[in-house]
Symmetry: C2
Subunit: 468 residues, 2 copies
């Protein structure tokens, strides 16, 4: 057998991993613990749950996203020769463990909320039941993927609600313009996907549009306008080259002169002017004046697109003020969730099987207590409105809709959805939120949504009812 | 010729791109503009500059990072058959343009600050001189990569300064524990790299350690401790399996009992106890009491590692109070730069060549003015301290160190550095910052670092001197 060799590090490597290379996208301790379990034959079934202990600041709910791509990564997770060679070079792992890793395939079960589900603190979003080593090895990757995609979907949903005046119904009015501010390439791909699940109408990110079947949306940049001697000349050229569905950016020099130039250019080219984009200045005033100029010229079908550091509070205020803006291009704040850039999800051991019997496992660190045992979330409704969630034992019978569903069985993904299905769910769930939780900011801090533990869980754990 | 076909979208694709697939990681408008320039033969040389118009909130300087991997991506950027098939399916691009893209290779020049350079608002960090279409096509990818890596390096540098009481000298004391909170896989790889450039001592991210040659660091998780009946038993097992360099997590049940158990386990196993990790509770009190327990037991060489939502203000306060903490494991706040999660870099056309002559190009949108012409940054020093920067014309002769250096010529990377070189630069630059800008928070808002425009640039642009 050829001895394995660690790959030579490269300080300027592009740093992009193939799915099969993500096995080492893990905290070093996961592998150390796995090695110890392996040596000790501690590979009996265990249950881990992924949940957030607290809702992040400025958030009253989360919109769960990222499951589909994450489970694909789980099924493709392998330790190849390069990875094994590197681990061997660390002089920390026994050959038997590296041999085990060379055969690694995730063989466990996953239950999870489907993407586009509204969720709250302490609710398990994902439950992994697998041989302990396999469940442990997934931890970092699951958290890396699901925390941030849930963050992005939540922010996108809030923008969608803001654009709809508190209703998801508007839909499609928010467009992802975030690639230049997303935290890297994976973030840009997943933000676009999460945004569309949450109700956004498309993305400027061509790679994401291609990969995920999203609507690609684009206008033009200031540099295009500046590449011509006069703005009108630039507009005429762009309309000539793209006679259909073209939106012109009008604020390079003066926004209202820009609108006038756009009208003249469309007339000169005898083409429809699909839209104008305002990217700076007082958007309320400019959108009104632009609408007036467009309507006077008979361009009543021309859309007004707003962009340029657009935030949910700004959208809500402009919608409230009746600004005639049809589309919102949101970059930075959507892609980075700037007002709340972290979903603090954790992944905790809640049960393991010692011999024939399952044992509930808990931790007692201050402020970090974990309730023992596999759990399920039950959601009650009054009419079309969500009224409260109960976190119960997984095998308990509680009234309400059980939110966690089978997602993988014995290492195979058992259910995959279309983005349309996820999006339909998110829009229904956003509409079912109590009205105070849908209201766009700046709203007063609403009553928190009621989440409690079931009596059986409380009795078993000796804790109070309130899980919020 | 076989007609191209667009790939079938997959709503649950893992979403990871190979370097050659990043050509479509771009805003749709870049390609629309490129197509228009192509049709019009507008592919004469142009100059774009990447800069931030303002420093982000809570930041008084930025640490530039990400250049090396980004330039590699630029050299590997191709439009393959899948990408071309997708673009063709959009029914928007002419065959001649797609043929042009099929041969696309970046052939231009890049000048840039080397990684690990301290920089400020309005200073060009990267200057691209290339045929207009090529320069335009790079925009989104450059911003996606450089904005967030600079954000991460800046946050890491602030943590390093906080751990060093305002001096970078301490170095190595901050460890990247962020993969579970980073915004995806690319973010996790690049945060680790950026953190080490900024002075961090290692990373928990095994893939990044392998790829970039960083020090992999790991301890153990609560779930390991909970997998045994008693904490002491878990410690004994872990020390038996990893007798060297092992840090035990002591707060699963009670931190000081944990330290006692760690001491007993090390004695029982007759091994050195490399470290104990405190992950919750009052870190000042617990670190002092832990140090006392360890010293009393003769474990004077055992390190104390602190983790658990560690932030720069917390580190600064603990260092100020003299907490005996040797290593700081920072996850969320390092990886997401939670207190300032955006570097708002932009990429702007500043000059193009009309016929034989270069023409300075500027935009006038409110608050978004761009100064015309290719620029250079000159930094002055008094002794070892930076005293002020001047942004001048690229071909101007201004006193001080010119910060932008050749990085690519005719599409070939001309200088690549080791991480050690970048790190040495960042540590020297952090040490050269005026003391008020190095002070860990909560410090009063310091005087901003002086950045001005050269007289020649001001005269040409008709603006005031202050560039801050």
């Amino acid at each position: 057998m050829t001895p394995r060799t660690a790959p030579t590090p490269d300080p300027n490597d592009p740093g992009l991993l193939a799915p099969s290379e993500t096995s080492l996208l893990t905290d070093q301790y996961e592998l150390a613990m796995a090695a110890s379990y392996h040596r000790r034959g501690m590979n009996e079934p265990a249950v881990f749950e992924l949940f957030a202990r607290k809702l992040p600041p400025n958030r009253h709910w989360l919109l769960f996203a990222g499951l589909g791509p994450t489970l694909r990564l789980v099924t493709e997770l392998r330790f190849g020769e390069a990875e094994l060679g590197y681990l061997e070079s660390l002089d920390q792992f026994r050959p038997e463990f590296l041999d085990y890793l060379s055969e690694f395939r995730f063989s466990g079960d996953v239950d999870a909320m489907p993407e586009g589900t509204i969720c709250f603190a302490n609710e398990p979003l994902v439950r992994v039941t697998a041989p302990r080593i396999e469940a442990q090895v997934l931890e970092t990757l699951l958290l890396n993927q699901l925390n941030f995609q849930t963050m992005a979907a939540t922010k996108a949903a809030r923008l969608v609600l803001a654009a709809g005046g508190g209703e998801p119904g508007a839909g499609h009015a928010v467009i992802d313009f975030s690639p230049r501010r997303d935290h890297g390439i994976d973030a840009a791909m997943k933000v676009a996907r999460s945004a569309v699940i949450a109700g956004c109408g498309g993305t400027s990110n061509v790679a994401a549009a291609m990969r995920y079947g999203l609507r690609p949306v684009g206008t033009m940049a200031h540099s295009y306008v500046m590449s011509f001697d006069r703005e009108e000349e630039a507009f005429e050229a762009f309309l000539e080259d793209f006679p259909a569905n073209t939106t012109l950016l009008v604020d390079t020099y003066d926004s209202l002169d820009g609108v006038r130039n756009a009208i003249r250019a469309a007339r000169a080219g005898r083409v429809e002017l699909h839209g104008v984009r305002l990217d700076s200045g007082d958007l309320l005033e400019l959108s009104r004046a632009s609408r007036e100029l467009l309507d006077e010229a008979g361009f009543t079908q021309t859309s007004i697109v707003a962009s340029g550091d657009i935030e949910e509070t700004k959208i809500a205020a402009l919608v409230e003020a009746g600004a005639p803006i049809d589309l919102w291009g949101v970059g930075t704040d959507l892609g980075t969730s700037r007002d709340s850039p972290v979903v603090n999800g954790v992944y905790k051991l809640v049960a393991d099987r010692a011999g024939a019997a399952w044992r509930g496992v808990r931790k007692l660190s201050p402020d970090k207590q974990t309730l023992p045992g596999p759990k399920q979330v039950f959601r009650a409704y009054a009419g079309d409105t969500m009224t409260g969630d109960v976190i119960g034992a997984a095998d308990e019978d509680v009234d309400g809709e059980a939110l966690l569903e089978p997602a993988m069985r014995e290492g195979t993904v058992t259910s995959e959805e279309s983005l349309e299905a996820m999006r339909a769910r998110s829009q229904a769930q956003l509409g079912a939120l109590p009205e105070a939780l849908r209201r766009p900011p700046p709203a007063e801090s609403p009553e928190p949504y009621p989440v409690s533990y079931s009596e059986r869980l409380r009795t078993a754990a000796g804790v109070g009812a309130d899980a919020g």
